[in-house]
Protein backbone atom coordinates (compact mmCIF):
# COMPACT_ATOMS: atom_id res chain seq x y z
CA UNK A 1 0.00 0.00 0.00
CA UNK A 2 1.16 3.48 -0.77
CA UNK A 3 1.76 5.52 2.33
CA UNK A 4 -0.16 8.77 2.51
CA UNK A 5 3.04 10.79 2.80
CA UNK A 6 4.27 9.81 -0.63
CA UNK A 7 1.11 10.90 -2.42
CA UNK A 8 0.84 14.25 -0.68
CA UNK A 9 1.95 16.74 -3.36
CA UNK A 10 4.82 18.97 -2.39
CA UNK A 11 3.75 22.53 -1.66
CA UNK A 12 5.36 25.31 -3.73
CA UNK A 13 6.99 26.71 -0.59
CA UNK A 14 8.37 23.29 0.26
CA UNK A 15 9.79 22.94 -3.25
CA UNK A 16 11.49 26.34 -3.05
CA UNK A 17 12.95 25.56 0.39
CA UNK A 18 14.27 22.21 -0.84
CA UNK A 19 15.88 23.92 -3.86
CA UNK A 20 17.58 26.52 -1.67
CA UNK A 21 18.76 23.88 0.82
CA UNK A 22 20.42 21.96 -2.02
CA UNK A 23 22.13 25.03 -3.51
CA UNK A 24 24.76 26.73 -1.32
CA UNK A 25 25.22 29.56 -3.85
CA UNK A 26 21.55 30.49 -3.70
CA UNK A 27 21.60 30.30 0.10
CA UNK A 28 24.54 32.70 0.32
CA UNK A 29 22.80 34.99 -2.17
CA UNK A 30 19.69 35.16 0.02
CA UNK A 31 21.83 35.83 3.11
CA UNK A 32 23.63 38.66 1.28
CA UNK A 33 20.30 40.20 0.24
CA UNK A 34 19.08 40.03 3.86
CA UNK A 35 22.35 41.57 5.04
CA UNK A 36 22.05 44.45 2.56
CA UNK A 37 18.42 45.02 3.55
CA UNK A 38 19.33 45.04 7.27
CA UNK A 39 22.23 47.45 6.71
CA UNK A 40 20.08 49.79 4.60
CA UNK A 41 17.14 49.60 7.02
CA UNK A 42 19.37 49.93 10.08
CA UNK A 43 21.15 52.99 8.67
CA UNK A 44 17.86 54.66 7.76
CA UNK A 45 16.42 53.89 11.21
CA UNK A 46 19.50 55.16 13.05
CA UNK A 47 19.69 58.37 11.03
CA UNK A 48 15.98 59.02 11.61
CA UNK A 49 16.79 58.85 15.35
CA UNK A 50 19.61 61.33 14.79
CA UNK A 51 22.42 58.79 15.08
CA UNK A 52 24.86 58.70 12.19
CA UNK A 53 27.00 55.61 12.09
CA UNK A 54 29.87 55.63 11.37
CA UNK A 55 29.69 59.27 10.22
CA UNK A 56 27.22 61.76 8.82
CA UNK A 57 27.20 60.92 5.06
CA UNK A 58 27.06 64.61 4.11
CA UNK A 59 29.59 65.93 6.62
CA UNK A 60 32.36 67.57 4.61
CA UNK A 61 35.83 68.08 5.98
CA UNK A 62 38.37 69.42 3.55
CA UNK A 63 41.37 68.57 5.75
CA UNK A 64 40.36 64.93 5.38
CA UNK A 65 39.73 64.81 1.64
CA UNK A 66 40.69 61.80 -0.51
CA UNK A 67 42.06 59.74 2.38
CA UNK A 68 42.72 56.09 1.52
CA UNK A 69 41.00 53.37 3.58
CA UNK A 70 42.21 53.44 7.19
CA UNK A 71 40.95 52.33 10.64
CA UNK A 72 39.10 55.64 11.11
CA UNK A 73 37.60 55.66 7.59
CA UNK A 74 37.26 52.03 6.59
CA UNK A 75 36.56 52.74 2.93
CA UNK A 76 38.35 56.09 2.72
CA UNK A 77 36.96 59.57 2.09
CA UNK A 78 35.92 61.43 -1.07
CA UNK A 79 37.02 64.76 -2.53
CA UNK A 80 34.99 66.68 0.07
CA UNK A 81 36.25 64.58 2.98
CA UNK A 82 32.96 62.69 3.33
CA UNK A 83 33.16 59.14 4.67
CA UNK A 84 32.63 56.66 1.81
CA UNK A 85 31.27 53.86 4.01
CA UNK A 86 28.60 56.15 5.46
CA UNK A 87 27.61 57.32 2.00
CA UNK A 88 27.44 53.75 0.72
CA UNK A 89 25.22 52.68 3.63
CA UNK A 90 22.83 55.51 2.80
CA UNK A 91 23.08 54.68 -0.89
CA UNK A 92 22.04 51.09 -0.18
CA UNK A 93 18.51 52.11 0.79
CA UNK A 94 18.19 54.15 -2.44
CA UNK A 95 19.26 51.19 -4.58
CA UNK A 96 16.94 48.72 -2.85
CA UNK A 97 14.02 51.19 -2.92
CA UNK A 98 14.53 51.83 -6.64
CA UNK A 99 14.70 48.08 -7.29
CA UNK A 100 11.54 47.24 -5.35
CA UNK A 101 9.30 50.10 -6.48
CA UNK A 102 10.36 49.96 -10.13
CA UNK A 103 9.60 46.23 -10.16
CA UNK A 104 6.23 46.86 -8.53
CA UNK A 105 5.35 49.36 -11.28
CA UNK A 106 6.55 47.14 -14.12
CA UNK A 107 4.85 44.08 -12.61
CA UNK A 108 1.57 45.97 -12.30
CA UNK A 109 1.55 47.01 -15.96
CA UNK A 110 3.03 43.76 -17.27
CA UNK A 111 0.53 41.52 -15.47
CA UNK A 112 -2.49 43.59 -16.54
CA UNK A 113 -1.40 43.84 -20.21
CA UNK A 114 -0.32 40.19 -20.35
CA UNK A 115 -3.50 38.96 -18.69
CA UNK A 116 -5.79 40.94 -21.00
CA UNK A 117 -3.87 39.91 -24.13
CA UNK A 118 -3.63 36.25 -23.11
CA UNK A 119 -7.18 35.85 -21.81
CA UNK A 120 -9.13 37.68 -24.49
CA UNK A 121 -6.84 36.98 -27.44
CA UNK A 122 -7.86 38.12 -30.93
CA UNK A 123 -7.62 41.77 -31.93
CA UNK A 124 -6.81 43.02 -28.40
CA UNK A 125 -3.98 40.53 -28.17
CA UNK A 126 -2.66 41.60 -31.60
CA UNK A 127 -2.66 45.31 -30.73
CA UNK A 128 -1.08 44.83 -27.29
CA UNK A 129 1.60 42.45 -28.49
CA UNK A 130 2.57 44.63 -31.47
CA UNK A 131 3.04 47.51 -29.01
CA UNK A 132 5.23 45.24 -26.89
CA UNK A 133 7.26 44.34 -30.00
CA UNK A 134 7.67 48.04 -30.78
CA UNK A 135 8.87 48.78 -27.25
CA UNK A 136 11.36 45.92 -27.47
CA UNK A 137 13.03 47.65 -30.43
CA UNK A 138 13.97 50.60 -28.27
CA UNK A 139 17.30 50.49 -26.53
CA UNK A 140 15.82 50.33 -23.01
CA UNK A 141 18.48 52.24 -21.17
CA UNK A 142 18.53 55.01 -23.75
CA UNK A 143 14.75 55.34 -23.48
CA UNK A 144 15.01 55.56 -19.67
CA UNK A 145 17.80 58.12 -19.96
CA UNK A 146 15.81 60.27 -22.40
CA UNK A 147 12.63 60.23 -20.32
CA UNK A 148 14.39 60.84 -16.99
CA UNK A 149 16.55 63.60 -18.43
CA UNK A 150 13.55 65.39 -19.93
CA UNK A 151 11.29 64.88 -16.89
CA UNK A 152 14.00 65.89 -14.45
CA UNK A 153 15.86 63.37 -12.33
CA UNK A 154 14.23 62.57 -8.99
CA UNK A 155 13.71 59.33 -7.11
CA UNK A 156 10.02 59.19 -8.05
CA UNK A 157 10.59 59.96 -11.74
CA UNK A 158 13.36 57.38 -11.94
CA UNK A 159 11.38 54.49 -10.46
CA UNK A 160 8.30 55.33 -12.53
CA UNK A 161 10.24 55.60 -15.79
CA UNK A 162 12.21 52.39 -15.16
CA UNK A 163 8.93 50.64 -14.32
CA UNK A 164 7.13 52.06 -17.37
CA UNK A 165 9.88 50.90 -19.71
CA UNK A 166 10.61 47.43 -18.35
CA UNK A 167 7.21 45.71 -18.24
CA UNK A 168 7.43 44.11 -21.70
CA UNK A 169 9.12 40.91 -20.53
CA UNK A 170 6.53 40.35 -17.81
CA UNK A 171 3.68 41.04 -20.23
CA UNK A 172 4.96 38.44 -22.71
CA UNK A 173 5.47 35.87 -19.97
CA UNK A 174 2.04 36.42 -18.37
CA UNK A 175 0.38 36.29 -21.80
CA UNK A 176 2.07 32.96 -22.49
CA UNK A 177 0.94 31.52 -19.14
CA UNK A 178 -2.62 32.75 -19.74
CA UNK A 179 -2.73 31.23 -23.25
CA UNK A 180 -1.89 27.84 -21.74
CA UNK A 181 -3.98 28.12 -18.59
CA UNK A 182 -7.17 29.34 -20.26
CA UNK A 183 -7.41 26.01 -22.08
CA UNK A 184 -7.31 23.98 -18.84
CA UNK A 185 -10.35 22.06 -17.64
CA UNK A 186 -10.87 24.12 -14.51
CA UNK A 187 -10.93 27.39 -16.39
CA UNK A 188 -13.32 25.96 -18.98
CA UNK A 189 -15.64 24.73 -16.25
CA UNK A 190 -15.51 28.11 -14.52
CA UNK A 191 -16.53 29.69 -17.82
CA UNK A 192 -19.35 27.18 -18.29
CA UNK A 193 -20.55 28.00 -14.77
CA UNK A 194 -20.96 31.58 -15.99
CA UNK A 195 -18.30 33.21 -13.89
CA UNK A 196 -17.22 36.68 -14.97
CA UNK A 197 -13.92 37.15 -16.80
CA UNK A 198 -12.54 39.20 -13.90
CA UNK A 199 -13.24 36.36 -11.42
CA UNK A 200 -11.73 33.74 -13.71
CA UNK A 201 -8.61 35.82 -14.28
CA UNK A 202 -7.98 36.76 -10.66
CA UNK A 203 -9.23 33.62 -8.88
CA UNK A 204 -8.42 30.80 -11.25
CA UNK A 205 -5.64 31.75 -13.65
CA UNK A 206 -3.46 34.31 -11.87
CA UNK A 207 -2.70 32.16 -8.78
CA UNK A 208 -1.49 29.40 -11.07
CA UNK A 209 0.82 31.78 -12.90
CA UNK A 210 2.21 33.19 -9.64
CA UNK A 211 5.50 31.27 -9.66
CA UNK A 212 6.91 32.54 -13.00
CA UNK A 213 5.66 36.05 -12.19
CA UNK A 214 7.55 35.96 -8.88
CA UNK A 215 10.69 34.86 -10.73
CA UNK A 216 10.55 37.79 -13.20
CA UNK A 217 9.97 40.12 -10.25
CA UNK A 218 13.10 38.95 -8.43
CA UNK A 219 15.16 39.07 -11.65
CA UNK A 220 13.78 42.57 -12.37
CA UNK A 221 15.15 44.06 -9.14
CA UNK A 222 18.84 43.92 -10.13
CA UNK A 223 17.98 45.23 -13.62
CA UNK A 224 16.44 48.31 -12.00
CA UNK A 225 19.38 48.68 -9.57
CA UNK A 226 21.83 48.59 -12.49
CA UNK A 227 19.74 51.07 -14.51
CA UNK A 228 19.67 53.51 -11.59
CA UNK A 229 23.41 53.13 -11.12
CA UNK A 230 23.97 53.86 -14.83
CA UNK A 231 21.70 56.92 -14.67
CA UNK A 232 23.48 58.18 -11.54
CA UNK A 233 26.76 57.68 -13.30
CA UNK A 234 25.65 59.85 -16.24
CA UNK A 235 24.38 62.51 -13.83
CA UNK A 236 20.68 61.75 -14.24
CA UNK A 237 20.19 59.61 -11.14
CA UNK A 238 19.04 60.58 -7.68
CA UNK A 239 20.60 64.01 -7.19
CA UNK A 240 23.38 65.02 -4.77
CA UNK A 241 23.85 65.51 -1.87
CA UNK A 242 21.84 62.28 -1.53
CA UNK A 243 24.43 59.54 -1.93
CA UNK A 244 23.82 56.60 -4.27
CA UNK A 245 26.25 53.88 -5.27
CA UNK A 246 26.24 55.21 -8.83
CA UNK A 247 26.90 58.86 -8.01
CA UNK A 248 29.77 58.06 -5.63
CA UNK A 249 31.50 56.46 -8.63
CA UNK A 250 30.46 59.34 -10.90
CA UNK A 251 31.94 61.89 -8.46
CA UNK A 252 35.00 59.72 -8.01
CA UNK A 253 35.81 59.36 -11.72
CA UNK A 254 37.60 62.74 -11.67
CA UNK A 255 40.07 61.24 -9.19
CA UNK A 256 40.25 57.95 -11.07
CA UNK A 257 44.02 57.58 -10.95
CA UNK A 258 44.49 58.94 -7.41
CA UNK A 259 41.60 57.56 -5.39
CA UNK A 260 40.74 54.02 -6.53
CA UNK A 261 38.62 53.44 -3.41
CA UNK A 262 35.98 55.87 -4.67
CA UNK A 263 35.47 53.60 -7.69
CA UNK A 264 36.15 50.13 -6.31
CA UNK A 265 33.90 49.87 -3.24
CA UNK A 266 30.60 51.33 -4.49
CA UNK A 267 30.98 49.29 -7.69
CA UNK A 268 31.54 46.15 -5.64
CA UNK A 269 28.36 46.93 -3.71
CA UNK A 270 26.36 47.25 -6.95
CA UNK A 271 27.94 44.06 -8.29
CA UNK A 272 27.38 41.97 -5.15
CA UNK A 273 23.80 43.17 -4.62
CA UNK A 274 22.76 42.57 -8.26
CA UNK A 275 24.59 39.24 -8.44
CA UNK A 276 22.80 38.03 -5.29
CA UNK A 277 19.40 38.92 -6.71
CA UNK A 278 20.23 37.17 -10.02
CA UNK A 279 21.45 34.00 -8.27
CA UNK A 280 18.45 33.90 -5.91
CA UNK A 281 16.07 34.57 -8.80
CA UNK A 282 17.66 31.82 -10.89
CA UNK A 283 17.32 29.28 -8.06
CA UNK A 284 13.69 30.36 -7.69
CA UNK A 285 13.19 29.86 -11.44
CA UNK A 286 14.56 26.34 -11.29
CA UNK A 287 12.29 25.56 -8.33
CA UNK A 288 9.29 26.95 -10.23
CA UNK A 289 10.13 25.04 -13.42
CA UNK A 290 10.69 21.72 -11.64
CA UNK A 291 6.99 21.38 -10.76
CA UNK A 292 4.91 18.64 -12.46
Amino acid sequence: MISSASITPETPTGRILRRFRADPMARIAVLVIILFALLAGGTALLSSMGVNWPYNPNLTSLEQKLLPPSPSHWLGTDNLGRDVLSRMLHGASISLTVGLIAVAVSLGIGVVVGAIAGYFGGKIDQILMRSVDALLCFPTFFLILTAVALLGPSLINIVIVIGLVSWTGTARLVRGEFLTLRETEYVKSARVLGQRAWTIITRHILPNAAAPILVTAVLGIPDAILSEAGLSFLGFGVQPPQATWGNIIADGKTYLLDAWWLILFPGLAILIASLSFYLAGDALREAAESRN
Binding site: T146, I249, L279
Partner: protein, 320 residues
Protein backbone atom coordinates in the same frame (compact mmCIF):
# COMPACT_ATOMS: atom_id res chain seq x y z
CA UNK B 1 9.55 33.17 -49.02
CA UNK B 2 8.24 36.22 -50.92
CA UNK B 3 5.03 36.29 -48.92
CA UNK B 4 7.07 35.95 -45.72
CA UNK B 5 9.21 38.93 -46.70
CA UNK B 6 6.16 40.99 -47.66
CA UNK B 7 4.40 40.25 -44.39
CA UNK B 8 7.53 41.02 -42.42
CA UNK B 9 7.91 44.27 -44.30
CA UNK B 10 4.32 45.24 -43.48
CA UNK B 11 4.87 44.42 -39.82
CA UNK B 12 8.09 46.45 -39.83
CA UNK B 13 6.26 49.49 -41.18
CA UNK B 14 3.58 49.16 -38.50
CA UNK B 15 6.20 48.80 -35.77
CA UNK B 16 8.21 51.77 -37.02
CA UNK B 17 5.03 53.85 -37.02
CA UNK B 18 4.29 52.95 -33.36
CA UNK B 19 7.94 53.55 -32.46
CA UNK B 20 8.01 57.00 -34.08
CA UNK B 21 4.82 57.99 -32.20
CA UNK B 22 6.20 56.78 -28.86
CA UNK B 23 9.53 58.57 -29.28
CA UNK B 24 7.84 61.74 -30.55
CA UNK B 25 5.55 61.96 -27.56
CA UNK B 26 8.27 61.14 -25.04
CA UNK B 27 10.29 64.13 -26.20
CA UNK B 28 7.41 66.56 -26.76
CA UNK B 29 5.08 65.82 -23.85
CA UNK B 30 7.75 66.14 -21.20
CA UNK B 31 8.01 69.55 -19.57
CA UNK B 32 10.90 71.86 -20.37
CA UNK B 33 11.95 74.40 -22.94
CA UNK B 34 12.98 73.43 -26.46
CA UNK B 35 15.01 76.65 -26.81
CA UNK B 36 18.74 76.04 -26.90
CA UNK B 37 19.22 79.32 -24.97
CA UNK B 38 16.70 78.62 -22.16
CA UNK B 39 13.11 79.74 -21.70
CA UNK B 40 13.65 82.94 -19.70
CA UNK B 41 16.83 84.30 -21.24
CA UNK B 42 16.24 88.11 -21.25
CA UNK B 43 18.71 88.69 -24.11
CA UNK B 44 16.55 86.83 -26.59
CA UNK B 45 13.81 88.95 -28.15
CA UNK B 46 10.27 87.68 -28.68
CA UNK B 47 10.83 87.93 -32.42
CA UNK B 48 13.76 85.53 -32.37
CA UNK B 49 11.75 83.11 -30.27
CA UNK B 50 8.80 83.33 -32.66
CA UNK B 51 11.08 82.70 -35.65
CA UNK B 52 12.63 79.73 -33.90
CA UNK B 53 9.21 78.27 -33.09
CA UNK B 54 8.10 78.76 -36.67
CA UNK B 55 11.24 77.23 -38.10
CA UNK B 56 10.91 74.04 -36.05
CA UNK B 57 7.08 74.03 -36.37
CA UNK B 58 6.73 74.38 -32.59
CA UNK B 59 3.83 76.81 -33.07
CA UNK B 60 1.66 74.07 -34.57
CA UNK B 61 -0.51 71.53 -32.69
CA UNK B 62 1.24 68.28 -31.77
CA UNK B 63 -0.21 66.03 -34.50
CA UNK B 64 0.94 68.54 -37.14
CA UNK B 65 4.38 68.74 -35.51
CA UNK B 66 4.58 64.97 -35.74
CA UNK B 67 3.63 65.05 -39.42
CA UNK B 68 6.27 67.71 -40.12
CA UNK B 69 8.97 65.76 -38.28
CA UNK B 70 8.17 62.57 -40.18
CA UNK B 71 8.03 64.37 -43.53
CA UNK B 72 11.36 66.08 -42.88
CA UNK B 73 12.87 62.83 -41.66
CA UNK B 74 12.14 61.15 -44.97
CA UNK B 75 13.02 64.08 -47.20
CA UNK B 76 16.24 64.62 -45.24
CA UNK B 77 15.27 68.18 -44.28
CA UNK B 78 15.09 67.45 -40.57
CA UNK B 79 17.60 69.72 -38.89
CA UNK B 80 19.18 69.58 -35.47
CA UNK B 81 18.06 72.30 -33.04
CA UNK B 82 21.61 72.49 -31.79
CA UNK B 83 23.76 73.19 -34.85
CA UNK B 84 21.16 73.42 -37.63
CA UNK B 85 22.83 70.64 -39.61
CA UNK B 86 20.68 67.91 -41.18
CA UNK B 87 19.97 65.25 -38.55
CA UNK B 88 20.55 62.39 -40.98
CA UNK B 89 24.06 63.71 -41.74
CA UNK B 90 24.84 63.82 -38.03
CA UNK B 91 23.62 60.24 -37.61
CA UNK B 92 25.36 58.92 -40.74
CA UNK B 93 28.66 60.39 -39.53
CA UNK B 94 28.39 58.19 -36.47
CA UNK B 95 27.03 55.09 -38.19
CA UNK B 96 30.35 53.49 -39.31
CA UNK B 97 31.87 53.74 -35.82
CA UNK B 98 28.66 52.38 -34.27
CA UNK B 99 28.47 49.47 -36.69
CA UNK B 100 32.13 48.60 -36.11
CA UNK B 101 31.68 48.70 -32.34
CA UNK B 102 28.49 46.64 -32.37
CA UNK B 103 29.79 44.06 -34.84
CA UNK B 104 32.91 43.61 -32.74
CA UNK B 105 30.80 43.29 -29.60
CA UNK B 106 28.49 40.75 -31.26
CA UNK B 107 31.46 38.67 -32.46
CA UNK B 108 32.98 38.68 -28.97
CA UNK B 109 29.63 37.84 -27.33
CA UNK B 110 28.93 34.97 -29.70
CA UNK B 111 32.37 33.38 -29.59
CA UNK B 112 32.97 33.54 -25.85
CA UNK B 113 29.29 32.95 -25.09
CA UNK B 114 29.43 29.75 -27.17
CA UNK B 115 32.55 28.48 -25.40
CA UNK B 116 31.08 29.18 -21.96
CA UNK B 117 27.67 27.73 -22.88
CA UNK B 118 29.11 24.50 -24.32
CA UNK B 119 31.41 24.13 -21.31
CA UNK B 120 28.48 24.51 -18.91
CA UNK B 121 26.23 22.16 -20.90
CA UNK B 122 28.76 19.32 -21.20
CA UNK B 123 29.27 19.46 -17.44
CA UNK B 124 25.58 19.96 -16.62
CA UNK B 125 24.86 19.45 -12.93
CA UNK B 126 28.51 19.33 -11.91
CA UNK B 127 30.54 22.03 -10.20
CA UNK B 128 31.89 23.30 -13.53
CA UNK B 129 28.30 24.02 -14.56
CA UNK B 130 27.67 25.89 -11.31
CA UNK B 131 30.86 27.86 -11.84
CA UNK B 132 29.75 28.64 -15.41
CA UNK B 133 26.37 29.89 -14.18
CA UNK B 134 28.11 31.97 -11.55
CA UNK B 135 30.39 33.56 -14.12
CA UNK B 136 27.41 34.27 -16.42
CA UNK B 137 25.46 36.02 -13.66
CA UNK B 138 28.59 37.84 -12.55
CA UNK B 139 28.93 39.19 -16.09
CA UNK B 140 25.30 40.31 -16.20
CA UNK B 141 25.64 42.02 -12.81
CA UNK B 142 28.84 43.90 -13.73
CA UNK B 143 28.08 47.61 -14.09
CA UNK B 144 29.71 48.51 -17.42
CA UNK B 145 30.94 51.92 -16.28
CA UNK B 146 32.59 50.37 -13.25
CA UNK B 147 34.46 47.67 -15.14
CA UNK B 148 35.50 50.28 -17.75
CA UNK B 149 37.11 52.39 -15.07
CA UNK B 150 38.83 49.44 -13.42
CA UNK B 151 40.23 48.43 -16.83
CA UNK B 152 41.26 52.03 -17.46
CA UNK B 153 43.08 52.20 -14.12
CA UNK B 154 44.93 48.96 -14.83
CA UNK B 155 45.77 49.71 -18.48
CA UNK B 156 46.62 53.38 -18.24
CA UNK B 157 48.38 53.27 -14.89
CA UNK B 158 50.03 49.90 -15.35
CA UNK B 159 50.83 49.79 -19.07
CA UNK B 160 50.57 53.45 -20.18
CA UNK B 161 48.49 52.63 -23.25
CA UNK B 162 46.05 55.12 -24.76
CA UNK B 163 42.40 54.08 -24.64
CA UNK B 164 40.28 57.10 -25.65
CA UNK B 165 38.77 57.85 -29.05
CA UNK B 166 39.20 55.80 -32.23
CA UNK B 167 42.92 56.29 -32.75
CA UNK B 168 46.01 57.61 -30.95
CA UNK B 169 46.62 61.31 -31.35
CA UNK B 170 49.94 62.93 -32.18
CA UNK B 171 51.54 59.77 -33.51
CA UNK B 172 52.73 59.32 -37.09
CA UNK B 173 52.22 55.73 -38.12
CA UNK B 174 54.79 54.28 -40.53
CA UNK B 175 52.13 52.51 -42.61
CA UNK B 176 48.44 51.79 -42.97
CA UNK B 177 48.87 48.45 -41.24
CA UNK B 178 50.15 50.02 -38.02
CA UNK B 179 47.42 52.66 -38.11
CA UNK B 180 44.84 49.90 -38.61
CA UNK B 181 46.18 47.99 -35.63
CA UNK B 182 45.95 51.17 -33.58
CA UNK B 183 42.29 51.65 -34.56
CA UNK B 184 41.59 48.00 -33.82
CA UNK B 185 43.13 48.37 -30.37
CA UNK B 186 40.92 51.39 -29.66
CA UNK B 187 37.91 49.34 -30.74
CA UNK B 188 38.83 46.33 -28.63
CA UNK B 189 38.34 47.76 -25.15
CA UNK B 190 34.89 49.36 -25.55
CA UNK B 191 33.72 46.35 -27.59
CA UNK B 192 34.84 43.94 -24.86
CA UNK B 193 33.12 45.92 -22.11
CA UNK B 194 30.00 46.14 -24.27
CA UNK B 195 30.08 42.40 -24.97
CA UNK B 196 30.29 41.26 -21.34
CA UNK B 197 26.52 41.12 -20.84
CA UNK B 198 26.05 39.49 -24.25
CA UNK B 199 28.54 36.72 -23.43
CA UNK B 200 26.51 35.89 -20.33
CA UNK B 201 23.16 35.95 -22.11
CA UNK B 202 24.39 33.81 -25.03
CA UNK B 203 25.98 31.25 -22.73
CA UNK B 204 22.78 30.89 -20.68
CA UNK B 205 20.58 30.40 -23.77
CA UNK B 206 23.02 28.01 -25.39
CA UNK B 207 23.46 25.98 -22.20
CA UNK B 208 19.69 25.47 -21.90
CA UNK B 209 19.24 24.35 -25.53
CA UNK B 210 22.41 22.28 -25.61
CA UNK B 211 21.48 20.25 -22.51
CA UNK B 212 18.34 19.21 -24.38
CA UNK B 213 20.27 18.42 -27.57
CA UNK B 214 22.85 16.30 -25.75
CA UNK B 215 20.06 13.90 -24.68
CA UNK B 216 19.09 13.18 -28.30
CA UNK B 217 19.59 9.78 -29.90
CA UNK B 218 21.86 11.06 -32.67
CA UNK B 219 24.31 12.32 -30.05
CA UNK B 220 24.44 8.85 -28.52
CA UNK B 221 24.95 7.45 -32.01
CA UNK B 222 27.76 9.89 -32.70
CA UNK B 223 29.44 9.00 -29.42
CA UNK B 224 29.07 5.25 -29.95
CA UNK B 225 30.66 5.61 -33.39
CA UNK B 226 33.72 6.57 -31.39
CA UNK B 227 33.89 10.19 -32.52
CA UNK B 228 36.03 12.52 -30.49
CA UNK B 229 34.04 14.32 -27.80
CA UNK B 230 34.99 17.70 -29.29
CA UNK B 231 33.58 16.65 -32.68
CA UNK B 232 30.36 15.47 -31.05
CA UNK B 233 30.01 18.71 -29.10
CA UNK B 234 30.99 21.28 -31.66
CA UNK B 235 29.84 19.58 -34.85
CA UNK B 236 26.80 17.51 -33.97
CA UNK B 237 25.38 19.14 -30.84
CA UNK B 238 26.22 22.78 -31.48
CA UNK B 239 24.72 22.75 -34.97
CA UNK B 240 21.44 21.59 -33.57
CA UNK B 241 21.51 24.11 -30.74
CA UNK B 242 22.37 27.04 -32.97
CA UNK B 243 19.03 28.74 -32.64
CA UNK B 244 19.79 30.92 -29.58
CA UNK B 245 23.01 32.08 -31.20
CA UNK B 246 21.28 33.20 -34.36
CA UNK B 247 18.11 34.66 -32.85
CA UNK B 248 20.33 36.16 -30.17
CA UNK B 249 21.93 38.55 -32.66
CA UNK B 250 18.63 40.34 -33.14
CA UNK B 251 17.96 40.50 -29.43
CA UNK B 252 21.47 41.68 -28.60
CA UNK B 253 21.25 44.83 -30.70
CA UNK B 254 18.97 47.01 -28.54
CA UNK B 255 20.93 46.02 -25.45
CA UNK B 256 24.23 46.83 -27.17
CA UNK B 257 23.05 50.26 -28.28
CA UNK B 258 21.80 50.92 -24.73
CA UNK B 259 25.14 49.89 -23.32
CA UNK B 260 26.91 52.01 -25.90
CA UNK B 261 25.45 55.17 -24.34
CA UNK B 262 27.61 54.60 -21.26
CA UNK B 263 30.61 52.87 -22.83
CA UNK B 264 31.05 55.35 -25.71
CA UNK B 265 30.81 58.14 -23.20
CA UNK B 266 33.64 56.72 -21.08
CA UNK B 267 35.95 55.86 -23.95
CA UNK B 268 35.13 59.06 -25.89
CA UNK B 269 34.09 56.83 -28.80
CA UNK B 270 32.26 58.76 -31.55
CA UNK B 271 29.26 56.46 -32.00
CA UNK B 272 25.49 56.85 -31.99
CA UNK B 273 25.21 56.20 -28.25
CA UNK B 274 27.26 59.28 -27.53
CA UNK B 275 25.30 61.29 -30.10
CA UNK B 276 22.12 60.27 -28.25
CA UNK B 277 23.54 61.27 -24.90
CA UNK B 278 24.61 64.65 -26.30
CA UNK B 279 21.15 65.12 -27.85
CA UNK B 280 19.56 64.37 -24.47
CA UNK B 281 21.78 66.93 -22.76
CA UNK B 282 20.95 69.53 -25.43
CA UNK B 283 17.22 68.64 -25.58
CA UNK B 284 17.71 68.29 -29.32
CA UNK B 285 14.22 66.92 -30.16
CA UNK B 286 14.68 66.28 -33.91
CA UNK B 287 17.90 64.34 -33.33
CA UNK B 288 16.32 62.28 -30.53
CA UNK B 289 13.28 61.31 -32.61
CA UNK B 290 15.39 60.52 -35.67
CA UNK B 291 17.92 58.56 -33.64
CA UNK B 292 15.25 56.38 -32.02
CA UNK B 293 13.80 55.79 -35.47
CA UNK B 294 17.11 54.79 -37.04
CA UNK B 295 18.04 52.54 -34.10
CA UNK B 296 14.65 50.83 -34.23
CA UNK B 297 15.02 50.34 -37.98
CA UNK B 298 18.47 48.79 -37.38
CA UNK B 299 17.03 46.50 -34.72
CA UNK B 300 14.18 45.37 -36.98
CA UNK B 301 16.64 44.80 -39.82
CA UNK B 302 18.82 42.79 -37.44
CA UNK B 303 15.82 40.70 -36.41
CA UNK B 304 14.90 40.02 -40.03
CA UNK B 305 18.50 39.09 -40.90
CA UNK B 306 18.73 36.74 -37.94
CA UNK B 307 15.47 35.03 -38.97
CA UNK B 308 16.77 34.60 -42.53
CA UNK B 309 20.10 33.36 -41.19
CA UNK B 310 18.27 30.96 -38.93
CA UNK B 311 16.40 29.50 -41.90
CA UNK B 312 19.69 29.25 -43.78
CA UNK B 313 21.52 27.28 -41.06
CA UNK B 314 18.59 25.08 -40.04
CA UNK B 315 16.98 23.22 -42.95
CA UNK B 316 14.03 22.24 -40.74
CA UNK B 317 12.88 25.86 -40.73
CA UNK B 318 10.76 27.18 -43.59
CA UNK B 319 9.91 30.82 -43.90
CA UNK B 320 6.20 30.86 -44.65
Amino acid sequence: MTSFLLRRLGLTVVLLFIISIISFFIVTLTPGSPYPWGELNPKISAEVKANFRKKFHLDRPLPEQYAFIMRDLFTGDLRSIKDDRPVMTRIMERLPATLALNLAAILISLSFGTLLGVYAARNAGRWQDMAGSFVAFLFIALPSFWISYLLAIVLVKGFHVPILGTHSYGIEFPNVFAAGLDTLWHLLLPATVLAIGGIAAQSRYLRATMIGTLREDYIRTARSKGLAEETVLYKHALRNSIRPLVTGIGMLLPALISGAVIVENIFAYPGMGRLGYEAVLERDYPTLVALNFVVAALVLLGNLLSDLLYAAVDPRVRLE
